[in-house]
């Protein structure tokens, strides 16, 4: 009897979560679908975004994301390898781990302020796609490193020992055996990071800015999708419709990017011939 009530309760909660989620997505689709068209994707915004499209904003979003990922991916994986495989000093590893966990919990607006102070002003990059991308990289790194690290750590140590006992260099054992075996964790970390980075507003407001022109280079200030949505809903009366349209595009973009990232990593590891 109690068992039944318990499982009913669980089902109710699951249903609630799915319903909420469905409601949000449904709301965005219903209110946004009317403005979305090919035209919307390839034209410039007009009248502060009330009309026109989001072409420059899409381009800026992709720029910022690519910069962030190009920096965070290799750096994050290397850091994870160092933490999981090389750091011999237990207390160092522990301290670095704690620092990363704290950093992972820092609100994104703080990263925005840091990025503004460090990249925009101190390094003189100004409000630019580059500053924004670098700030995002800082923001997603902690979680990405931790996910990859635990993935590498959880790889059977039998394989590590087996490889080393065959006289293989440590780097080769890591590269050819451990990393591919940690692939699911790396993909999970990447998907988390892409999601967070694509939907980020606060960290980019002060670093890449909100100019809605088409960027000419990564040193231009520009507006990403999340900032655009924020601006339309908060500052532009009558911008709700295009805001919903942009939100719909944002969701589709995240799904698309995740699929792409997964496919990319899959094919990368497939070449190394791993099985599960």
């Amino acid at each position: 009897m109690i068992d039944r009530a318990f499982s009913l309760g669980i089902y109710a909660i699951i249903a609630l979560v799915i319903a909420t989620f469905g409601w949000i997505i449904g709301d965005v689709i219903i209110k946004g679908i009317s403005v979305v068209s090919w035209e919307f994707l390839i034209s410039e915004p007009e009248d502060a975004g009330r009309a026109g499209g989001i072409a420059p904003i899409l381009v800026s979003t992709l720029y910022v994301l690519i910069i962030a990922l190009v920096i965070a991916l290799p750096l994050g994986i290397s850091a994870a390898i160092w933490l999981a495989e090389f750091s011999q000093n237990q207390s160092h590893t522990l301290h670095v781990g704690i620092i990363l966990d704290v950093l992972a919990g820092v609100p994104s607006i703080v990263y925005g302020l840091f990025g503004n102070a460090f990249f925009c002003i101190y390094l003189g990059l100004g409000y630019s796609l580059l500053s924004g991308g670098l700030t995002l990289a800082c923001m997603i790194l902690p979680v990405f490193i931790r996910t990859c690290e635990s993935g590498i750590r959880s790889v059977q140590s039998d394989w590590r020992l087996g490889g080393l006992a065959l006289g293989m260099r440590r780097s080769v054992v890591i590269w050819k055996i451990l990393l591919p075996a940690a692939q699911p964790a790396i993909i999970a970390g990447l998907i988390l990071s892409i999601g967070r980075a694509t939907a980020e507003t606060a960290a980019l407001l002060f670093t890449s800015g909100y100019v809605d022109r088409m960027p000419e280079s990564i040193f231009d200030s520009a507006r990403v999708l999340a900032v655009h949505i924020y601006d339309l809903t908060m500052n532009v009366t009558g911008g709700d419709e295009t805001a919903y349209g942009s939100a719909l595009i944002l969701i589709v973009l995240i799904i698309l990017l995740n699929t792409l990232a997964q496919g990319f990593i899959d094919s990368w590891f497939k070449r190394s011939g791993h099985y599960r």
Binding site: G162, G163, G167
Partner: protein
């Protein structure tokens, strides 16, 4: 009488020495984890082309000793080793040993089969590549020979590109032996290679190990005394004394089992102790 008694063991040792030259000579080896002494008093010769069994109760330092022979013990920076291990003119306990080539010459098989999560072919191909075999045709030939040597070729030749993890436990262990053999080692270290296998696979692997005699110097840890008796030429008996492992007795297997000199050996092999 007294003279004869003191001479007898030394004499037999000498005869053994002259018949099968020492491949690895260990002298007064002691191993510490941090400050804690784990094993000491290990002096023995591993004879070329012979199978040496290490027996003794749990925790007496068999694995610790084994991993000093390929210096896998170096991975744990808590471990310090004193004494000498002479292998081919080098003292392995010194710091300037080339670990990669040492481990190529001294292969190791673990208790739990540990094929990489790769295809059967790649399991052997990656180590070969790593040791500089650039020619693919040559690698393919070596891989075929290694798989034949462990009697796996006919079983897997049609599915070399399938996952090594899809093999049975016994096949996996033979694949691991093939993976070590493909590098043409001189010495093979085996840490309870049969204990994770079912009786039939265990028998097959045991036969395989027996067939490695003469071509390789084999050191095998086993808890199975019958197995040690069946396949080994020499046996080393370890025992824990005052909280640390110690080599108690080392002799050729027949003599050690038929006439143990130490009463602890006698008790252990008759199943009274340990």
């Amino acid at each position: 009488m007294i003279v004869a008694e003191t001479l007898a063991p030394r004499l037999s040792e000498d005869i053994i020495e002259s018949r099968a030259p020492a491949h690895i000579k260990v002298n007064e080896l002691a191993i510490y984890y941090g400050k804690k002494l784990a094993v000491n008093g290990i002096s023995l010769s591993l004879h070329r082309g012979k199978i040496t069994a290490l027996i003794g109760p749990s925790g007496c330092g068999k694995t610790s000793f084994l991993t000093t022979l390929n210096q896998l013990s170096k991975l744990n920076n808590q471990v310090t080793v004193t004494g000498e291990i002479h292998f081919d003119g080098e003292n392995l306990t010194q710091n300037n040993v080339d670990l990669l080539s040492l481990r190529r010459r001294v292969g190791m098989i673990f208790q739990k089969p540990n094929p990489f999560p790769l295809s059967i072919f790649k399991n052997l191909d990656i180590p070969l590549k790593e040791h500089g075999f650039k020619n693919r045709a040559e690698r393919i030939e070596k891989i075929e020979n290694a798989l034949k040597a462990v009697g796996l070729w006919d079983e897997v030749k049609d599915r070399l590109n399938t996952s090594a993890l899809s093999l049975s436990g016994g096949q996996q262990q033979r694949l691991c032996i093939a993976r070590a053999l493909v590098l043409e080692p001189e010495v093979l270290l085996m840490d309870e290679p049969c204990s994770a296998l079912d009786p039939i696979s265990s028998g097959i692997v045991e036969e395989l190990i027996s067939s490695l005699r003469d071509k390789y110097t084999v050191v095998i840890v086993t808890h199975n005394l019958a197995q040690a008796k069946r396949i080994s030429d020499y046996t080393a008996f370890f025992w824990t004394q005052n909280g640390a492992g110690k080599l108690i007795e080392f002799n050729n297997t027949r003599q050690l089992f038929s006439g143990p000199k130490d009463e602890r050996t006698a008790a252990y092999i008759s199943g009274i102790k340990g």
